[in-house]
């Protein structure tokens, strides 16, 4: 359980980190941010990079920028930042706080990073689901330039993305939901803090008594989280009630192509997709009622 030998670099600037990455990428050099997924993989010798580029010493990479419509999180913003529901303006702050409570455990959240989760792209990653539902722009930078990808063009499969080995995920920009947006998140797993078997994130607005701008996504069900457009279409223009929510869940269950493994069949995950979505929708509607009251 000891990692294989590697060369350790601790650059002081982003340019220096990108230069080291472009030099070492072909051999398999990796960025080390929070290390809460990478280091266990190295301990298990599933990963044995010849070099690590530790970005924790680069000033300014933990910057958070809030504009009228978007929020940008730098590469070293940690999960623990969201322990404070006031870290970001409403409704994003309380929503991401509720999501973050489901990420692994407290000591892991002290080091793990939002952007690191996006780079790792575990199908059960809460932040990958958030990025998908909030139309994230994922900023990839190399010594040669920068490009921005939407989640649908970035996630490729379990732990697979379209990031090139010489590119570093330097930040992510999320859409800010409008004030008064109703939201709900629900995650199911077998043990507290374990990887999600299934989770759903839902946001919608209420205009003239009916649902508008519904956005919802599922994580842990398919090979990567994504928005489920057919279920969103069911919701828009309808009054939020249990029957409509059940219909949206049916639509999602029909659409998904669930993963299957030794302990959890695809049928189980399909069923779970409906359950987590109904529960997330119920949580969103309780929030509506609560705020109207």
């Amino acid at each position: 359980m000891k990692p294989a030998p590697f060369a350790y670099h601790k650059p002081q600037s982003l340019d220096e980190a990108l230069a080291l990455l472009s030099e070492g990428a072909e051999e398999g050099a990796l960025i080390l941010a929070g290390g809460q997924s990478l280091v266990p993989m190295m301990a298990l010798r599933v990963a044995y990079p010849p070099a690590l580029i530790d970005i924790n010493g680069i000033a300014g990479l933990d910057a958070v920028e809030v504009s009228g419509t978007r929020v940008r999180l730098g590469a070293t913003v940690r999960h623990a930042a969201f322990h404070d529901p006031g870290f970001l303006p409403e409704p994003l702050g309380p929503m991401l706080h509720a999501v973050a409570e489901n990420i692994a455990h407290y000591p892991i959240r002290q080091r793990g990073t939002f952007c690191g989760s996006l780079a790792h792209a575990d199908p059960s990653s809460e932040w990958c689901l958030v990025a998908s539902v909030l139309d994230a722009e994922i900023e990839l930078r190399s010594a040669g330039g920068e490009r921005r990808l939407r989640p649908a063009d970035y996630f490729e499969g379990p732990m697979m993305t379209l990031r090139e080995p010489d590119e570093m995920l330097v930040g992510v920009t999320l859409a800010r939901p409008a004030p008064g947006t109703c939201w709900g998140f629900y995650e199911f797993n077998r043990r507290a803090g374990d990887f999600a078997l299934g989770m759903a994130l839902v946001l919608y607005e209420i205009e003239d008594g009916v649902i508008a701008n519904a956005r919802l996504g599922l994580g842990g069900i398919e090979e990567h989280p994504r928005r489920i457009a057919t279920a969103e279409a069911v919701l828009n223009g309808r009054a939020p009630d249990e029957a409509v929510f059940a219909e949206a869940a049916e639509a999602a269950m029909a659409e998904v192509e669930p993963m299957s493994d030794a302990t959890t069949s695809a049928d189980y995950r399909r069923d779970l997709a409906g359950t987590v979505l109904r529960r997330a929708l119920a949580a969103a509607s309780r929030r509506t009622t609560h705020e109207a009251a």
């Binding site: 030998p5 266990p40 455990h105």
Partner: protein, 166 residues
């Protein structure tokens, strides 16, 4: 991979005392503390971030020392279980563990002590449910957790009372 990788010299403080050690980059902080600083109170259980036996405070935050490399701790302030007692006087949390029978075999205890210390330092007004939730981070196979929860909640109350009195 045939080339030898140079060791790096790092300096940090452990329980207030400055240390300089020379380590291979692949050496975890847990092994650095145990082997290079002689502080074997930090226990190494699973070595991949699951059990929490190796929890220490790095710059005030409770973290898994098996998921950090020693080289990353250069310049950091580290607290380990050896830093809790002042001479012969145990910390209130350690006293509470004894009173509440919050340990049996004791292997997980240093990790729990540092986890709880970190959580109470970060938020002295933490709610009981939040504290209980945080305790799910670490594994204990003896106690069934009830007594650890009792010790943690009792300590939170003790610290709040002494802060109120001060």
């Amino acid at each position: 991979m045939t080339e030898t990788i140079a060791k790096t010299e790092i300096s940090f403080t452990v329980n207030g005392r400055p240390r300089t050690v020379t380590v291979e980059p692949r050496k975890t902080l847990a092994d650095t503390l145990r082997e290079d600083c002689g502080l074997t109170g930090t226990h190494v259980g699973c070595e991949h971030g699951v059990c929490g036996a190796c929890t220490v405070l790095v710059d005030g935050k409770a973290v898994r020392s098996c998921l950090m490399f020693g080289a990353q701790a250069d310049g950091a302030e580290i607290r380990t279980v050896e830093g809790l007692a002042e001479g012969e006087a145990l910390a209130p949390l350690q006293e509470a563990f004894i009173r509440n029978h919050a340990l049996q075999c004791g292997f997980c205890t240093p990790g729990f002590l540092m986890l709880i210390t970190g959580a109470l330092d970060e938020n002295p007004d933490i709610r009981d449910e939040e504290l209980t939730e945080i305790l799910s981070s670490n594994l204990c196979r003896c106690t069934g957790y009830r007594n650890i929860i009792r010790a943690a909640i009792e300590t939170a109350e003790t610290l709040r009372r002494s802060r109120g009195a001060a």
